[in-house]
Each structure stands twice: as C-alpha cells, then as structure tokens.
C-alpha cells in the first residue's frame, strides 16, 4: 500500500496543527458557528443528534494492521469502544469530544491517517473496488490512480468550497464493484484500440433525493491527462453549479440541466486550455505511485492440494462449507483467496466493530493476509491475500471473533446507514429495522435458498444506505412526525446499475418484517430454477409484489 514520504507526512501534520488552532479559536469564541462549520466538516467532524461524529478517511478502503490497532486505541480512549464502517469505505466514531478531536487527528497522523475532506462541500474520499489488485477480472489495479487523485484533491486550493459535496470512484474491472455509475465522477480503467490504458469518464451520477445514473462524457481519456481533465470538470462545476438551492447543487443537476453533451463540450473547452500544462501527469510519477501497489511476495501454494483439503474440511464442517461458499472470493493468484469478514451478525448494527474486534482483525491480517485490511462499501472487511491452506484456521479464529457469519451477499448482509439513532438528518431509524429483519430471517437455510439478494436501508433520502440500488430498498420517511418506511424493488448496483421502483404507500416499523416476507414469498413462488430475486423481479415486474403486499386481509 502507499507509504507517505516526508511531504505527505508534513502536509497531514500541518493539517492537525491548523485544525488545533481553529478549534482553539472556536472554543474561545473567535470563530462564529457558521464559519467553523465548514472547517470542522472538512476535518470530518459533524455535530450529530447525541454527540459529535468523526468520520475518518480510509482512502479507497485500504488499511494496514498498525492503523487498525490505532483505530482500536482511539475507540477505547476517545469513544465508547466501537466504530462504524460507512458505505463509502470510511470509518466513523460516534462519541468523540470536540475538544479531543485535534488529539485524535494527531494520533491518526502518526499512522498516516487523517479525516481530511470526509465531509463538507469539497472533494471527498475516493472509493474503489474492495478486491482491487487481487480480482481476477481486473484490467489494471485502480488503487494507484485513487492515490494520485487523493493527493491531487487534498487541499486543492480551488475546490474547497464547491456548491456541494463531490465524490469520485474508480474501478479497474468491466463489472462495476465501486458503484462508479452513481458517483459525481466515475472512472473506469479501459484500454483503447491501440492497447493504451486510459479512463472512461462518467459524470453526474448519484443517489440522494434525485437519484441519477452517470453519463459518459468521454470514452477514452489518456492516463497522463487524468488530473487536468478532473480539474476541468471541477472548474466547470465550481463556476456553474447551483449555489442558491442546496438541493439542486450537486453536479448531476447541472449535467441534467445542460444535457450531458453540452456539459461534455464545456469540459472539453476548459480542458483545451489546461491540458498541456505541468499539471499533466508524468510517467515517473505514475510509476512512483504504482510501485507501492506491486504484487506482494506470494508464496507458492499448491492449489489442487489446498482445494482437496478444503473439500474434505467442508464435508466435516457444514458451517465452514457455508462460509467458503459465501465469504470467499476468487483470487488472481492460484492457491490464494480473498476473505470477507462479515460485520453483519444478528443483533449488531451493520458495519459496527468493537475495539477488541479491531485488534483481533489486525492480528488476523498480520498472520494470514500480509498485514492489510480493506473496508467495503457493503460495510464489511476484506482480508485480500489469504492462502487457501490457511482458510480453515482463519475461519475458526474469525468465528471466535464474531465475524464469520456466512452471509455475504445474502439478505442478512444488509447495508444500513446509522439513521435516526445517530444521524441528525434522519427521518426514521434504520438500525432497528435491520435488526428486526435479521431476527425474522435468522434461518440460514432459508437465507441461502434466497441466494444473492441485497437489502439496503437509508434513514432519509440522502441515501447513505444506497437504498435506490438495493434489490430491496428501504427508505425512512417522516409522516406528520411519525416514522414510516417506503419500500423499493429492483435496484441493482452491479455493472447494470438500476434504480429501484417504489412499491407503494409506506409502512410502520413493526410491519416491515412481514412486508419483506411477503415480497420474498412472491419471489419464491415465481422464480424459475436458479433465478435470482433481481431476475425474477425483472421478468415479472412490480405488480405481483404490489398485489401481495397490499392485498386486503380476508
């Protein structure tokens, strides 16, 4: 993974000093509340319903064990002993004290971490595929490009006060595991006819109150021009985005209003002015950053032997075989596998992890996965480089640690935002809904029989729980001060990103388990062969679900 040089380190340390000064001035009454707001936001600090919330950046979801132990330490020392993995691969602490935040940031800087631009109207953390670098279907590792973007966007002097927040995602595969179609800018690594690597550029995607799939504005951007092209997009947006109405301020609204081809034209015109400047990337710099992401020293593992052993162990341990089926992803190197640690056991808020678990995962990473850990936008963790011959041992330890629930990609692997329990923007709570559903559907055989199925819950239309792209999406709504839940069906976040359709009138919280059960029954009754929920839905449409759910009881 990328290792800071003295410049990177200096920048982060100076940031801590800057924010310490700002916090002191704020506490001394020298900075007005509204002026402090963007300062603290750009350092990840929200004031939430119950306490401040600190969002820490995990650039493209990559961490090492030392950083994990630091997070455990912070959870213990400054918080209530746990933290939360967000749907943008970041980490949130729910109970820090404002006065202590500069100290927390100083601790993070010691392990090359920060909370820079994790909130506010600026360029946010760049996200990527949790299997970057090990995926079998990858054209090129997206992480060096994410790091290049991280550095470019960090304290970009021109774009710190944009009309609204700005999110970039990069993927290096044909299938999209980074949700690039629902980001302000989505970049897909592609090869042109001459075999050169570059980027397909999408803009104007996003969820939130106006969900939109991004538009391609350039089929092929030569790689050396990445940063100047981003500069051009951001400049057009900074100059022309709506600043009067925050609900119309995202870039997607501008792209829609202008039409994508007009927007593309404006970007190209701006880019013409700046592309042949020193801001364009050099091979030297690209190679420097890439050198941090070269393949590690994989040891030879006999794939056949390892597979045989796994088959044998699976026969002896049913739970292990389920885990192998659900929580293991193929690796590009024979004899290796990527393991997803589930943070979705029943009874725990999806994505929450305790200080002890953080330490335990750090140990597992050191022992089995080259000391690295990834966070996923599904709010789980990945150990990406595990020898197949170690899987059984790892599974036993993961089970003891409480993160071997074999439910990845199933109904109970829900994505869920913090919702009304923590978030001051919420219309409704989301965690209790997730919990009620997990309790209702605790029969794992039933869940396996349903197969791949995503259920995403957001506590309001800001859509942090990505409900629009869940096969089943649940959205908290407020009706005359009471919490209700709207259900959407048919969303998908794969390469064919699709936005779900609203089923009908919303439900009370206690009705939700039954509503979801009815929906699942319609699927079970109608599916053909191995058909997945999404495919059945696409074949039969919304109506059968509607009829079943809203049928009057006799």
């Amino acid at each position: 993974m990328y290792v800071y040089n003295e410049h990177d380190q200096k920048i982060i340390e100076e940031r801590v000093a800057q924010f310490r000064g700002q916090t002191d001035r704020y506490l001394a009454g020298e900075i007005a509340e509204d002026e402090f707001l963007p300062l603290r936001l750009q350092n990840g600090l929200y004031i939430q319903r119950l306490a401040p919330m600190l969002r820490i950046a995990v650039p493209y979801g990559l961490l090492n064990s030392k950083q994990f132990r630091k997070l455990a330490h912070i959870a213990r020392t400054y918080d209530k002993g746990y933290c939360h993995i967000t749907t943008r691969q970041n980490i949130q602490f729910n109970w820090p004290q404002l006065e202590e935040v500069p100290d927390i940031l100083a601790e993070l800087a010691e392990v090359q971490m920060h909370a820079v631009q994790t909130s506010g109207n600026c360029i946010r953390n760049t996200t990527s595929d949790q299997f970057a670098g090990v995926a079998q279907d990858e054209l090129e590792d997206p992480r060096p490009w994410c790091e290049i973007i991280r550095q470019w966007s960090t304290f970009h002097p021109e774009f710190a006060f944009l009309p609204r927040k700005f999110k970039i995602a990069v993927c290096g595969t044909k299938g999209d595991r980074a949700a690039i179609q629902v980001h302000d800018i989505g970049l897909q690594i592609v090869k042109n006819d001459d075999g050169e690597m570059g980027f397909k550029v999408l803009v104007g995607g996003g969820l939130g109150r106006t969900p939109v799939i991004g538009s391609v504005i350039r089929e092929f951007l030569p790689k050396e021009h990445l940063l100047t092209y981003l500069d051009a997009i951001l400049r057009v947006y900074n100059r022309h985005g709506n600043r009067a109405n925050k609900y119309k301020a995202r870039i997607k609204i501008l792209v829609r209003a202008w039409k994508p081809d007009v927007f593309a034209h404006e970007v190209e015109a701006e880019w013409d002015n700046i592309k042949e400047t020193p801001a364009s990337l050099t091979d030297e710099e690209i190679n420097r950053v890439k050198s941090f992401f070269t393949a590690p020293d994989y040891q030879p593992v006999d794939d056949n032997d390892a597979e045989k052993e796994l088959t044998k162990l699976s026969g002896e341990h049913l739970a292990f075989s389920k885990w192998l089926q659900r929580n293991i992803t193929a690796h590009r190197v024979p004899g290796y596998a990527a393991v997803t640690l589930s943070l979705k056991p029943t009874g725990v808020a999806p994505g929450d992890i305790t200080d002890q678990q953080l330490d335990a995962v750090a140990d597992l990473a050191d022992q089995y996965s080259l000391g690295e850990i990834r966070t996923t936008h599904n709010q789980n963790l990945v150990l990406a480089d595990v020898k197949k011959s170690d899987l059984f041992e790892l599974w036993q330890k993961a089970k003891a640690g409480g993160f071997a629930t074999p439910n990845i990609g199933t109904l109970t692997d829900m994505i869920c935002c913090p919702g009304g329990d923590f978030c001051s923007l919420a219309n409704a709570k989301s965690i209790p809904v997730a919990e009620a559903l997990q309790r209702k559907f605790d029969d794992m055989d039933y869940v396996y029989d349903l197969g791949d199925l995503s259920l995403n819950i957001s506590g309001c239309m800001n859509a942090c729980g990505h409900h629009h792209v869940g096969n089943i999406g649940v959205l908290g709504v407020d009706k005359k001060g009471e919490e209700f839940y709207q259900v959407q069906l048919g969303g998908s976040s794969d390469s064919d990103t699709t936005l779900g359709k609203v089923l009908g009138p919303s439900f009370g919280r206690e009705e939700m388990p039954e509503v979801i059960e009815k929906i699942l029954n319609v699927y079970i009754e109608n599916r053909q062969g191995d058909e997945l929920f999404l495919d059945t839905y696409r074949r039969i449409g919304l109506n059968p679900f509607k009829e079943s759910v809203y049928a009057k009881d006799h």
């Binding site: 800057q18 021109e158 009309p163 100059r239 020193p278």
Partner: protein, 160 residues
C-alpha cells in the same frame, strides 16, 4: 484608514469600492469600479485611478485579456461558502495573465487565506473585527502542497 492584508503584512488601504447600482459622478479617489459599470462606460471612462471588482456570479471571461488595464482587480465573496472566486482568481492570473494586485473582498475568512493565496490573491480585505495580524499567519498554514496553482506552477511531483 481601513486596513487590509497585503503580501502578508497589515497595511492601510485607500481604495473605495463603488457599489453596483452606482450612478452619478465618481468620487475623486482610487475607485474599484463594478464590472458592469466599466462595461457600460468603457468608452468614456478615465481609468487613471480605477481598479475593477467583480462579483462571484459575474463572468470573468468578459474581462479576459483586458484585465491588465487595471492595477487592481477585486473579487467579491458574497458568503465565505461561495467558492467561485477561487476559480476567478486562477483564471485571471493564469489564463488572462493579469499581473496586478488581486484582492479578495466581502466575506472571505481567515481560514481561507491559504487557499486564496494559492489561487493568486495577494491582498485581502477581510470583514471588520478580525485581528489581521493574527489572521496573516494563516497565509502560511501549509509549507507543502500537491497541486499546481498560481503560486506553484508545477505540481509537487515535478518540483525538484
């Protein structure tokens, strides 16, 4: 006399900002003309003692290469959250090769000074009540930067 920060120091300043809806005779002073006023009166104006100011929603491309007629151009930040002025600054300096004094006026805050400086601003007329001596320190919040900008024509990876 009003004080501003210029080139990192607190100094007296005598430029008078002319409001957008101004009509009548200009005062006998160093005046900052609103952009539209200048456009409307271009042919008859004596620019001897005039600078120009534009608002965040005005189009800097309209000034373009004529920028260098002015010793000073000011950019208004109607609120500190309105970041259009950062782009305006860079465009004036980088694209339109403006060599005069570039000033931030309006609601820009101390904590934006570093970014403003990077975008080509060299003088700052901050809101009243701000301790300018202390604020000037924020011009140097960082000693290293990644990107190119007006103050650093080369990105970190090209600097030696």
């Amino acid at each position: 006399m009003p004080k501003i920060i210029k080139d990192g120091k607190v100094i007296d300043d005598s430029w008078v900002i002319i409001e957008k809806d101004f009509s009548g005779e200009l005062p006998r002073a160093k005046v900052l003309l609103p952009m539209q006023y200048w456009l409307d009166n271009k042919d008859t104006l004596n620019l001897m003692c005039a600078g120009l100011w534009l608002d965040s929603d005005e189009d800097v491309d309209t000034i373009g290469l004529e920028a260098n007629q002015f010793p000073l151009i000011a950019v208004n930040f109607p609120t500190f959250a309105d970041g259009r002025g950062f782009s305006i600054g860079r465009l004036l300096k980088e694209r339109y090769e403006f060599t005069g004094q570039l000033r931030a006026i309006g609601s820009a805050t101390r904590d934006q000074l570093f970014y403003l400086k990077r975008c080509g601003f060299d003088s700052f007329d901050l809101k009243e009540g701000i301790d300018l001596e202390a604020a000037a320190a924020s011009l140097n919040d960082f000693s290293v930067t990644y990107q190119t900008s007006v103050d650093k024509p080369e990105p970190l990876f090209r600097r030696s």
